[in-house]
C-alpha cells in the first residue's frame, strides 16, 4: 500500500518539491501550519496567506494550495490588513522572515498589533538574512560574525515577542522547529483567536547561518534549540543571569481585547 502524506492535499500541484535548502526549518514550519489547519478541520479555501520577500516568504508561496499573496519585502502585514479589512470573513495568515517582519517591516508589525486586527502572523526567525546570503538581521545574536558583521555583531537582538506584546497583541507565543508539536498547538490557538496573534518560530537556516558561522548543520542547530530552550513556566523562576542565551518557549500572551474589523463594523451599523 502506498501511503500518501495527509498534508499533501493542501499542497499546490506543481509546487510539491520545495525551493528551500536541505534541512531548512521553514519546511517544518510549513508542515506545522498545514497540520494545524487539518486538525482544526478548517477549509483552506477560507484562508488568504500573505508573505513578504525572503526564504520564509516562500513557506506559503506557492506551496500552499490556497489564495496566496506574495508581496514586497517588509510589507506583507500591510497588504494583509487590506485583505482583512475588506473581507473580515477571511482567515488571514502572514508567514514571513525576521528581516521582513522586524527590520524593514517592523512598523507594520507593531501597528497591526496595536490595532489588534484579526490576523495571525508567523515569523520564521532564523536570526539572519537567508535569501540574500547571510547578512546580519535585527535578530542576530550579539557578537555573531555574519557576512556584514565580519568583526562580530555589535547590536543587540530584538525580542520580537516582547515587542508585539507591548504593542497590544491578543496572543503571543514562541517556539522553535524542535518544538513542532507545541508550535502546531499554538498555530491552532492563533487561528481561532479573536484579534492579532503572533508566533515567533526559531527556524534553522543551516546554510547561511549554520554553515557560515560554524554553528553546524540542521541537526546540530535543532539540537541547540532543544538544549537552550526553557518553558515559560520554568523561566518564571529563574533570574536574568540564568536566562541569558536561553530561548523561552510557550505561550506568552493570551488575552481578550476588541478586534479592529469588529469595531469598524459597529461604526458601520450606525448608518444602517
Amino acid at each position: 500500500m502506498k501511503l500518501v502524506h495527509p498534508l499533501m492535499k493542501y499542497v499546490r500541484p506543481g509546487a510539491i518539491s520545495t525551493a528551500t535548502c536541505a534541512g531548512c526549518g521553514d519546511g517544518i514550519m510549513a508542515q506545522a501550519v498545514l497540520r494545524a489547519i487539518d486538525e482544526l478541520e478548517l477549509n483552506i479555501d477560507d484562508f488568504v496567506f500573505v508573505s513578504g520577500i525572503g526564504c520564509a516568504g516562500w513557506i506559503p508561496s506557492p506551496f500552499f494550495n490556497a489564495d496566496t499573496l506574495h508581496t514586497t519585502h517588509g510589507r506583507p502585514i500591510a497588504f494583509a490588513s487590506g485583505v482583512k479589512l475588506a473581507r473580515p470573513d477571511r482567515k488571514v495568515v502572514v508567514i514571513s522572515g525576521d528581516g521582513d517582519l522586524a527590520a524593514i517591516g517592523g512598523n507594520h508589525l507593531i501597528h497591526a498589533a496595536r490595532r489588534n486586527i484579526g490576523m495571525t502572523v508567523i515569523c520564521a526567525n532564523n536570526g539572519i538574512y537567508g535569501m540574500t546570503g547571510g547578512q546580519v538581521a535585527p535578530t542576530t545574536p550579539l557578537g555573531l560574525k555574519t557576512t556584514t558583521t565580519p568583526y562580530g555583531n555589535v547590536e543587540r537582538a530584538f525580542d520580537l515577542c516582547a515587542l508585539v506584546e507591548a504593542a497590544g497583541a491578543s496572543y503571543v507565543a514562541r517556539w522553535t522547529t524542535y518544538h513542532a508539536r507545541g508550535l502546531t498547538r499554538s498555530v491552532k490557538k492563533a487561528l481561532t483567536k479573536r484579534g492579532f496573534s503572533f508566533i515567533e518560530v526559531l527556524s534553522q537556516c543551516p546554510v547561511q547561518y549554520g554553515r557560515r558561522t560554524g554553528v553546524g548543520n540542521a541537526v546540530a542547530m535543532m539540537k541547540g534549540y532543544k538544549e537552550n530552550s526553557l518553558s515559560v513556566k520554568k523561566a518564571a523562576s529563574l533570574n536574568e543571569e540564568e536566562l541569558k542565551n536561553k530561548i523561552i518557549v510557550g505561550e506568552l500572551v493570551d488575552k481578550d481585547s476588541p478586534e479592529l474589523t469588529e469595531e469598524i463594523e459597529k461604526v458601520r451599523r450606525i448608518h444602517e
Binding site: 495527509p6 520545495t18 508542515q31 548543520n217 541537526v219
Partner: protein, 70 residues
C-alpha cells in the same frame, strides 16, 4: 508503517537524528536530487511516535498505523 518518498528527500538527516529508536539510517544510493535518502532499517523497533514525519521539512516521510487486516 513508515514510507519515505525518496525523490522528495533532500538528505538533511533530521529524521535519522531525531528518531529515538534508531529505525532509520542514511542510505548509499542517490535519489533524483542527487542526495542520499534515508532507509528504514529496523522497522520492528518503530513505536510510531511520528517524530520523523513531523520534522521532515519536505513532507517526504509518512508514518501510519498498520491497518488491521480482515
Amino acid at each position: 508503517m513508515i514510507e519515505i518518498d525518496e525523490d522528495l528527500c533532500k538528505g538533511c538527516e533530521i529524521c535519522v537524528a531525531f528518531c529515538a529508536k534508531d529505525v532509520l539510517e542514511m542510505s548509499d544510493k542517490f535519489n533524483k536530487k542527487g542526495v542520499h535518502p534515508p532507509l528504514v532499517v529496523r522497522e520492528e523497533d518503530c513505536n510510531l511516535c511520528g517524530n520523523c514525519m513531523l520534522y521532515c521539512p519536505d513532507l517526504a516521510i509518512v508514518v501510519a498505523e498498520e491497518e488491521e487486516s480482515g
